[in-house]
Point group: C2
Chain length 370, copies 2
């Protein structure tokens, strides 16, 4: 049984930032939470999706809120435990395994902290395969698991339970409460059994994130090209295709808080001045990368992550600054995230974008790709 | 045991509008609900506060939302039943009596509809002795009953349970959910036992409202002065003192929806042109009536209600129009609503007014009172 090591947690933080595609909250904070919980309560087991017992009671959990606020208002393990206990008490169930609802960002870590505290295993899978800004943007929802009931808790012990048949309403009410809890809350939802979890989840995303972190660490140690190493790593996973869509300098960052989200646009001016500027549109996460004339380089649900030019470490939306020298990496998501029904929930249209989804590296004529 | 008659419900609607002090939602809509529920499920018993059994399980209930929206989006009996059932299921209790959390406006009627459906008695008392715009503005809260848990439901079966030790937080979260449920929701909260309800409630407010309606109906039938009859009626109740603070024409109505409330100012120009204009400030309910120079004629928690000049029927905030000919009636609230701790929760300061509370007709130098 694989036990998460201290090194794994460090690697996971790096990989989860990349899978966060700019959002999902800075995993560094989550890393501190997870390590503190493991130190206090003991090690956490990461179990492969296919080994989950059919009669397991699985609950998804994480933190909800704008990433910029997560930095200021760090969720405590206590708070997450309150949400879990509130869910269990009201639904009269006992959780036997937790699954991150989001492998990208801080929510890769929150379930580890919770699992340590409750002596529960964490399933090596998630419901987003990356980070998304809304609660209904989950493969769990896409493939039929109700988003409600949702249990929310804040750091002062305030608790809210939402019951609704609509995933959109679950998001709408939970977002409203999260805003009124100060912009950040811990949530537990998408309760399901061990049979269900196997066909509604994006598999192996926790080990994917750990692998990303390990790849960058090893490239750094051996002074080899981290981007080349990353692309080679993704080729061996079910994500398969990754590529650099822009290399340049951040020349503009427009960002604001709106309805509980961080929204904005970042502009990157290529080092190669013959190439057009690239604009990335953001709603917590990076949604679409376009050239000035509107040509799409990569688009949601595919991953678009801004990486530091030298270290290839991901730069979250809230840490983007004028003058940063960056590579923009795009990664195609696995098939379970590219079905017709998945795109209806977290494809371009779900974000109000008018574009059709073009899978990165399959059929999108990306002249800028290395 | 007094059973509510059809006539009682009609009278209650008229009286509840007056106790609504402009807000609380139009009781006419509630009347239709209550009558339909009684026709379908059978009669409802109104029991005096002092006869409630010590081991009774009492739950307060009503509709939450802006009065202007309550007119458009009428709560159904089904919806209130959903809130009650959700409260009971999660708290594992069985309600034996319901109490209106608000005797003014539509919330005098919602508990009757619920009581008919569940064959429960309604207690002749409430937690506001009038209408107030916020959930924590309850004598229940003032005298120590926790506002949470709060169960909310909408007409589509969406349900939310809020657990918090803070009455202000209960209001804050419930208001957020109410807004996201479309501006109106049914709620059940302030669960308490039969011993407690007797010392935290404003007694006999349902029969007070019925008495107001009956008084106006009888005055109309006998062609006698309805205002004089009202003032005489109040003198025999624990409210005791009522008086007219302005007679004139509505010359301006400024009103808008803000954070789920109806807020605004109405201006009345006296028929006696030697008298100054009177301005009434509104937050769902009428909060303060002032002369142009700032002299206070009456102030919250005392009742300020705009009455039709001829019929003396109350005009709710959302029905105020330029040109209406009106009397403005002020009524002093009973002592349980005028204690130091009560004023801390629903006195002028609680509404952001800078004035001290001056009990109407005790010591406020009201030159304008008839």
């Amino acid at each position: 049984m694989p036990i998460l090591t201290d090194q794994d947690i460090d690697d996971l933080a790096v990989g989860a930032a990349l899978l966060g595609t700019g959002g999902g909250g800075d995993p560094y904070i989550g890393k501190l939470m997870a390590k503190a919980a493991i130190a206090e309560f003991g090690p956490v087991e990461l179990i492969p999706l296919e080994t989950v017992a059919d009669d397991a009671v699985v609950l998804a959990c994480g933190a909800m809120g704008a990433p910029t606020i997560l930095i200021e208002k760090i969720p405590s393990g206590e708070e997450m435990a309150t949400a879990l206990a509130f869910y269990e008490a009201n639904l009269d169930v006992k959780t036997t395994a937790v699954i991150p609802f989001e492998a990208g960002g801080i929510n890769s870590m929150v379930p580890i902290a919770l699992a340590a505290r409750h002596r529960l295993p964490v399933i090596d899978a998630d419901g987003m395969g990356r980070a998304f800004p809304q609660l209904e943007m989950e493969t769990f929802n896409v493939y039929g698991v109700p988003a409600g009931p949702v249990a929310l808790a804040d750091e002062r012990g305030n608790k809210v339970l939402i019951e609704t048949a609509s995933a959109a309403k679950a998001e709408w009410y939970a977002r409203g409460i999260t805003i009124r809890m100060g912009g950040q809350a811990s949530i537990a939802n998408y309760g399901m059994d061990g049979i269900t979890v196997k066909y509604v989840s994006v598999p192996a995303t926790m080990t994917l994130a750990i692998g990303i972190g390990r790849t960058l660490r090893e490239a750094q140690a051996s002074h080899s090209d981290p981007i080349a190493a990353l692309i080679a790593f993704f080729a061996k996973t079910h994500y398969r295709h990754a590529g650099v869509i822009a290399s340049g300098k951040v020349t503009d960052v427009a960002r604001r808080e709106e309805n509980g989200w961080s929204v904005g646009v970042v502009t990157i001016e290529p080092f190669d001045s013959s190439k057009p500027k690239v604009k990335i549109r953001i709603q917590n996460e990076n949604l679409v990368a376009e050239e000035e004339d509107g040509a799409v380089l990569a688009i949601v649900p595919d991953l678009i992550t801004v990486l530091d030019l030298d270290t290839a470490e991901a730069i979250t939306t809230e840490r983007l600054r004028y003058g940063q020298r960056v590579n923009v990496l795009a990664v195609r998501v696995p098939p379970i995230m590219r079905t017709r029904e998945a795109l209806a929930v977290f494809g371009p249209r779900a974000f109000g974008l008018k574009h059709e989804y073009q899978p990165f590296g399959l059929d999108c004529g990306l002249a800028a790709v290395k």
